[in-house]
């Protein structure tokens, strides 16, 4: 167990600042491992040592961005290798700017390399999602819910399912128009949250808050009717 990890488990959950989400308290001041300390020291230095550290950091970020591009490449058959390379480079450039701007935010809660990787992966993932949806229409309404019906059920189960689908449709109709559009785009039609945020000129965090509120409203609607459906997050794991 590293000293950083040991400090990390001394974490506490503070009271939510909003009605929707807990806010995670920062870990106790992290004990920097030797490698993380060296990175910070070199990046905060002046002159050639700083320049060399920035160059090494960019190489690290580029490697992470290429890793993400490679993971997603099977789902992007229409993109040429050259385009993917450009996306990785652009992601590394943007991640470098983010890391350098937020260097003082690094608290040693993780290894420095883990911390910087997430910036490169985020930049690459967002760019690839947007590229994949470039020019595609986003459907914000759902005409019918019967397409999700299971087949081959007993008459009793079929009646239960029909009641549930009907209640779902009514519960979704009872949401605000914005909540309904966001829920349908993200949850039903699988639009990536970054893509929708871009199209609606908002942020990922704000959209997720809307999604969360819509889900809570829908859960409450079903609960009032004594409907407690079985959920599956199988696809998520």
């Amino acid at each position: 167990m590293t000293s950083t990890a040991a400090a990390s488990v001394e974490h506490e959950l503070v009271q939510p600042s909003t009605d929707t989400a807990p806010v995670l308290a920062p870990a106790a001041a992290g004990f920097l491992d030797e490698d993380s300390r060296a990175w910070l020291s070199d990046l905060r230095a002046q002159g050639p040592m700083h320049d060399a550290a920035v160059e090494r950091l960019h190489a690290l970020l580029l490697g992470a961005a290429r890793f993400e591009v490679a993971r997603r490449r099977p789902g992007l058959p229409h993109l040429r290798g050259e385009e993917l390379g450009e996306i990785a480079l652009e992601a590394a450039d943007d991640a470098l700017m983010s890391v350098l701007a937020r260097l003082d935010d690094f608290r040693g809660d993780s290894r420095f390399t883990t911390w910087v990787y997430k910036f490169a992966l985020l930049e690459a993932a967002v760019k690839l999602r947007k590229r994949a949806w470039q020019g595609r229409e986003i459907v914000l309404e759902q005409e019918t819910w019967d397409i999700f019906s299971s087949v081959g059920l007993s008459p009793a189960r079929a009646a239960e399912q029909s009641e549930l689908l009907s209640a779902l449709a009514d519960g979704i109709a009872a949401l605000t128009p914005h909540q309904r559009r966001v829920l349908i785009a993200l949850a039903v039609n699988g639009v990536p949250i970054d893509v929708l945020a871009d199209r609606l000129n908002t942020s990922r965090g704000a959209l997720y808050k809307t999604l969360h509120d819509a889900r809570r409203g829908l859960r409450a609607y079903l609960a009032q009717r004594d409907l407690a459906p079985t959920l599956s997050f199988e696809e998520n794991r």
Partner: protein, 76 residues
């Protein structure tokens, strides 16, 4: 687009039960969560609400999977 099964659709529509963090908090703590996971610690106990968010947010879940895979690859 292939249609998901009803239970999967319900999971997407209703999301995880209980408290969860938002996307910004998830990003802030994702590196720590992954390092704890890979070190064999109870990351869910250390960072409550983060796993629920990963269940409910496909984009953050993908980024968690990538970070975990990348860090894990670097350790071996």
């Amino acid at each position: 687009m292939e249609m998901p099964k009803l239970e999967q659709m319900l999971g997407r529509l209703l999301g995880p039960a209980g408290s969860e963090v938002g996307c910004d908090e998830c990003f802030d703590h994702l590196d720590r969560y992954v390092d704890l996971e890979l070190a064999g610690h109870d990351a869910d106990a250390a960072l409550p609400g983060l796993r629920a968010h990963l269940d409910g947010c496909p984009a953050c879940r993908e980024e968690h999977e990538s970070l975990r895979a990348l860090v894990d690859a670097g350790r071996s």
